[in-house]
Symmetry: C2
Subunit: 340 residues, 2 copies
DNA sequence: CTGAAAGCGCTTACAG
DNA sequence: CTGAAAGCGCTTACAG
């Protein structure tokens, strides 16, 4: 059934070397031989054993992708684009789901290195705060592209969103709509995007001469709908008055809105709410959710583009360029901030 | 920097064979040697080159997974479970997104076979109607597990949902709520799940002595929100009266509901709507969407379990068992069918 | 333009 | 308990 290159060579009375070269279109093989070999290979359904080719050529044509949460629609969109472009360039994808866990992330990196992937494209887990595993990637002459959740200290290629600017836009939008008592449900203290969105919030307040009130900032680590609901309840029961709310993610915003609706609070007229990410769900609910779009597929496309360019650089000049790309966000205005 | 097994052997004054066996815990190596080798390997950060091990041992510890739409939350949940269990059993995942295209699916299968994956777990694309590529997997002594969208004609392991029963449950639920003029937005004519849900709809009508009206059945191929909206509009403008609607997916149902709401039609009292899949979005909208739950993570878990058991069977008895597993669905009652 | 030889980095019978 | 040798299935200098 299965036939090896050697066996094909024997049947065609050629050397294995000639057959290999013919299949791989080496210029020093006659067209006649190439045609003979290729048509025979097609006839018997010959497929080269990738493991063997890889071992010899030291290139696996494989990219390792690590994502913190595979069910998150934002990462999903990024992944989709990465896969489409990888396929187009004849790369396979080995996928890892770190589940926001540093130790799993570390394990996946080691596993991928062992498998000799040509590059690793990854977004860091929330509790990743040391970077030995990333340095290890670079030390192994493997291309590393960080996207979305990146480590600023590591010298590699990066694509990420200007979160501070995004947080600023979201908050300023609320201010323009007339909100003056604006709360913020932020993420954990560690992840860079959580910090930056918070800083954007602070800056928008400051630029607009609205004094900052730490009691209006609550922390959600999970970023889930349930947490949004719970934080909204906590804020409401604490008696702190607000007329605007900027949430770190759409999910948190949807949870908060659900609580406010249960309290018969008019969204957006009593409290305007804005999320972050432009998840599809935000467009399905009533009131539809204003949000900040992060251009997921652009992030994915740039990550692959950077990988390909680094890979080429490594091959031709044996060095990396380490480009950083910062993408701007876009404000999406919907009903949850459309005051009458 | 990087060190090979051979180099390690030299430094430890051992043979490469002994080092390899020590690392892989062969029983015929002394504990002292094992400890020596392992601790040294750890010290210098030695990691076996997977490509080389694979080539020699003919096992890649890799599973190829092919999914028709990677952004679909249902497949996503399945994928998540598959990945968690694969990781737990020390398998890597190579992922392919067929985008519902037969030719891409075929290409991915060939690519995976070339990479000598130990098994392929896949859900078929909607326009897959010939199965040579599947037979090819089996002919290559590679385990094949089909899930959700399966080919009944192919003799391999399968996990899928009893779609006919699901369609029956959905339709009967509408009937129990008092609906007598029930429309169905079905999927394409080819996919098995589309056919089966439709058959369940027919059977529920027939069992309950409601005459079938072909004008109340419309076809959506994409299964998108937009199509749901368009079909609802088409039905509405055609003047055909209905008081219940069963949609092939939640997305189609959400699109239909959006149109009906724009027409100020009372959901559920004028028209009750039920979807299929139990997508998260269905729980976020108002009215929340009644639906049929397909137990995505159960499907994923069973797919991996079947793979592992087939893999073992192949190793020990050199044959496959080809088990088929049919999972029952569950009715989820929410507001979109909760008549007052 | 084609072939003989070496080798990628491991593992696996086999011998002792 | 350890080692020498062969080999997994390819590709790549090198020679002619």
């Amino acid at each position: 059934m299965k036939i090896s290159l050697k066996e094909m060579a024997k049947r065609l009375s050629l050397s294995p070397a000639a057959v290999s070269k013919a299949l791989n279109d080496y210029p020093d093989i006659s067209l006649a031989t190439k045609n003979l070999v290729k048509s025979y290979a097609k006839k018997v359904g010959y497929k080269a054993n990738s493991q063997a080719s890889f071992l010899r050529s030291q290139k696996t044509k494989t990219i390792g992708v690590i994502i913190p949460d595979i069910t998150n629609p934002f990462f999903n969109k990024i992944l989709k684009t990465i896969m489409t472009l990888a396929q187009k360039n004849n790369y396979s994808i080995i996928l890892g789901n770190s589940k926001e866990s540093f130790s799993l992330e570390e394990k996946l990196v080691n596993q991928f290195l062992q498998q000799k992937v040509d590059g690793i494209l990854m977004s860091l887990a929330n509790d990743t705060s040391q970077y030995k595993h990333l340095e290890n990637i670079l030390a192994n002459d493997t291309v590393l592209v960080l996207f979305d959740k990146v480590a600023k200290l590591i010298n590699c290629s990066k694509v990420f969103v200007d979160d501070k600017d995004g947080g600023f836009k979201a908050t300023e939008h609320l201010i323009k709509k007339g909100c003056t008592k604006i709360a913020h449900f932020r993420g954990g203290l560690n992840p860079q995007n959580s910090i930056d969105r918070y800083l954007g919030y602070r800056e928008a307040l400051s630029v607009n001469k609205i004094s900052f009130d730490p009691n209006k900032v609550l922390i959600t680590s999970s970023g889930s709908i349930e947490q949004g609901y719970i934080l909204a309840k906590k804020l409401y029961e604490s008696g702190i008055e607000i007329d605007g709310l900027f949430c770190i993610t759409d999910m948190v915003a949807l949870g908060a809105i659900r609580f406010f609706k249960e309290q018969k609070i008019d969204i957006p007229n009593e409290i305007s709410v804005i999320g972050f990410s432009n998840t599809m769900a935000g467009n399905l609910v009533y009131p539809s959710l204003s949000t900040i779009d992060q251009k997921a597929s652009k992030i994915g496309a740039e990550a692959v583009r950077l990988f390909l360019s680094e890979e080429k650089m490594l091959k031709t000049e044996n060095r990396l360029e380490n480009q950083s790309l910062v993408l701007k966000t876009t404000l999406i205005k919907r009903e949850s901030t459309q005051r009458i």
